[in-house]
Symmetry: D2
Subunit: 264 residues, 4 copies
């Protein structure tokens, strides 16, 4: 979110950060208490995950503050937040930037790049020519499979929908469903599906010798216990954009907010 | 080289490793002393960098052995080595696998993947849309620039030859020479040229805000002192294939040797 | 459909063609009258457009035959046809191959290739670097825009949905909506939308100097009258797969039928 | 060359065309006789193929003129021409635009696009998935093979040099040499090599069922007689840029001349 603030500042807006007490002020970004910051502001911006329980998600703040306090201070001003379904429903002026497609797609690209980095780092072979399986052809699966394909990996994508499989093949890759009837030896497996698609039956068919990267939110889509028993190296990569590319993630939030602003 | 041995074993050949005393034997790879190993062998394989001074380059051996000893043991058997110019010239049967184009190209791909990994890790933005400069359009420059372009970075390649610049543009990228007359702001700069192309004059024009990755062999092509003074983050990435993708590097050596064998 | 028959024959099935009286038999494809052909057959295959009014669509037949006659002869055998909504509804055993996604996608690829051929032929410049606008990001728009992009055209795609525009940009191309507020000069414009998106207002903004290719089914999506008045070269390309790539179109029908067969 | 003239005019230069008597003047391009045109001009531009025997290559002129006449009129002014080796050698001020790499590469792209158009038109299948052989990895072979690969054809490139084959494989395609030891069935074969690489022995191995496009200058690289005997469809495509993309070809000449001008 620091990067988000910087992106706004770079665009010429006046930015005040609140809830960052434990950091020192950096030149063009002003820091203040919640009251001051929100009094001066025209709009308020909350993080992608705005709450921790009943408190504002502000890890750099000196002490936690209940969201009900912040809510009163925001009043009727436009509030931009992620995951707005977690906020109390009586606010009138909430704009959820995390539900917009360009936000999803932007994050999918960042997640895919982070997964690519992890793969090159962990895998001792080359992506070029590697036999790769990507489970899922949603946003992350799409971004990632195309990236791997363009690096000349031998990519297979597992997708549930017949239509997705048609497009996967049209893009030059192989398509399968989740039955994993055929035994096959992949070098790298990426899961993007937030449900147990790589259960022990599937792992028995395809996971011998592979490294598995689970990109789906907790609890993921891989039977980690079975993998551990069988000695299959499995990495659960969470929150990749925020961890790997905070600058890009922050800019993405800022640009999504700007688009919402222009459209209203 | 362990991976190289495994690649040969996987292909059905009998492999004996010598000079790896400090490692335990793993099932299908036999370990022995130099005399035994070389007596039984039809061919001998040395590492890419075969010597450390007058001694065989064998970091896992209990004690260093002079190459002259090894030379006598090899006798007239075919010897496959890298950098053969460093070996004494009276050997008749040296085949240098490191001078073959498929070896160069294979290593270029591995180096480029390693550079990509470093870039995604160090850079807090996304490769997608990043303004990237690649200096050099030799093997590594070519492999790397095309990789970055396929990940939708905004790629400019600096090349000395007019013909290279024509092909860079035909591939959809921008091409410049090394004069760097125009001031320009790149996010990422990769150097692949083993001579000082990014001197302080060049760095003043283009390096503000960028992260620089030098992939050229020591001493590289960047004025590191000036970079340090100016607070420009610079990473000198050496021996990427061996460090990042030992399995692929080993297989590449084995396959190059096989090709030489088939052709003679 | 001749190619479809050949594809079945190549796959080992016995094929009898009926309604092709005006052609001579070719070795491995048997020709017969409707009664004989349908008596011997296990399944019946009709064209993508099965009817011409009340008659079977059989341009090579000696004389037209009412579909009601054919219907009785088919009886209860599985019938594979395109556009089944045009057939009388009391048949129980109709499988419509033209509604499957792989058929749609396959045809989209063929249509896009045909459009590419027309563009290279008509346009006196090179696709490389040409400023291209593709209207629509449905199946044909997607296939075509990606093709042009990979040939290094400067591609903009007009799409109605925000989510489509996000993915267009993720793929490295530009995205706009149909308001065409900005005046812009394209070299080539392709329409894939079956409604009037390129009306005279739009044409005034963007069509100066361009060649327009309308790929949408009649009546298309371009104000042809206005284009003619203004001297804008416009081509309405219909039924491209059947005209340009009958072999691929026929094989696609056969493979779609095989997939339906395997799934039931 | 008309397009070349227009390109210069669009760039703000004053253009006078001589030797185009049989065409009417078009607004911004002035037509005149050789004497007037060359007197007023600072530079002279000749076609890619400047001569027809001893005469200037001017198909639109009323009557042919000997080059010696033109030569005197040009005097000492800079002369830009293609194929300058065909011009008398005593001229001091000849700049040959056809020997520059960007001209070669530009023409390679135009030739490749023309070949692609011919292939889509002649071949009744789809380029997607077609088994294609490209002979030669020079400029045209490189441009064409990459184009076909990006359209998802199954591309094999025959190249003489080991280094070329290494890069062909690095780009994701298959590489072979010209021995054609293995019998293989291609759908499309493109030759770019100006010597007999597809002799009858080769054709017997690989040409069954294929369409052959010869892009090499006369006499080409295919045994046309044998092809005709065997009923193999063969097309000899010559001068593609000038025929298919005269506008792009003309602009390319103009831009190449501008670059030469800037460099001197």
């Amino acid at each position: 979110m620091l990067y988000c603030a910087r992106a706004f500042a770079d665009g010429g807006d006046t930015v005040t950060l609140a809830g960052f007490d434990r950091l020192q002020s950096t030149g063009d970004l002003a820091f203040a208490d919640y009251y001051t910051a929100l009094s001066n502001a025209d709009i308020a911006v909350l993080p992608v995950a705005p709450l921790t329980g009943e408190f504002l998600n502000a890890p750099f703040a000196k002490e936690p503050v209940r969201f009900s306090v912040i809510e009163k201070l925001i009043g009727e001003k436009p509030l931009f937040s992620g995951m707005s379904e977690r906020l109390p429903a009586d606010r009138l002026n909430i704009y959820d930037y995390s539900k917009r497609e360009d936000f999803f797609v932007g994050n999918a690209v960042l997640t895919a790049e982070g997964a690519l980095e992890a793969a090159i780092g962990e895998y001792e072979g080359s992506i070029y020519g590697a036999k790769v399986l990507v489970c899922g052809y949603g946003r992350i699966g799409k971004a990632l499979s195309h990236m791997l394909y363009s690096l000349h990996a031998d990519v297979t994508v597992a997708a549930r929908k017949e239509s997705d499989r048609a497009w996967i093949k049209a893009a030059g890759m192989k398509a399968v469903d989740y039955s994993f009837i055929e035994k096959y030896s992949y070098d790298l497996i990426f899961n993007t599906v937030p449900s147990m698609v790589l259960d022990r039956r599937a792992l028995r068919q395809i996971a011998g010798g592979a490294i598995i990267f689970d990109l789906a939110s907790s609890p993921g889509g891989v039977d980690f216990d079975y993998a551990r028993e069988e000695g299959i190296l499995t990495l659960h990569l969470l929150s990749l954009p925020g961890k790997r590319s905070p600058q890009a993630a922050g800019r993405l939030i800022k640009e999504t907010i700007m688009k919402i602003w222009e459209e209203t």
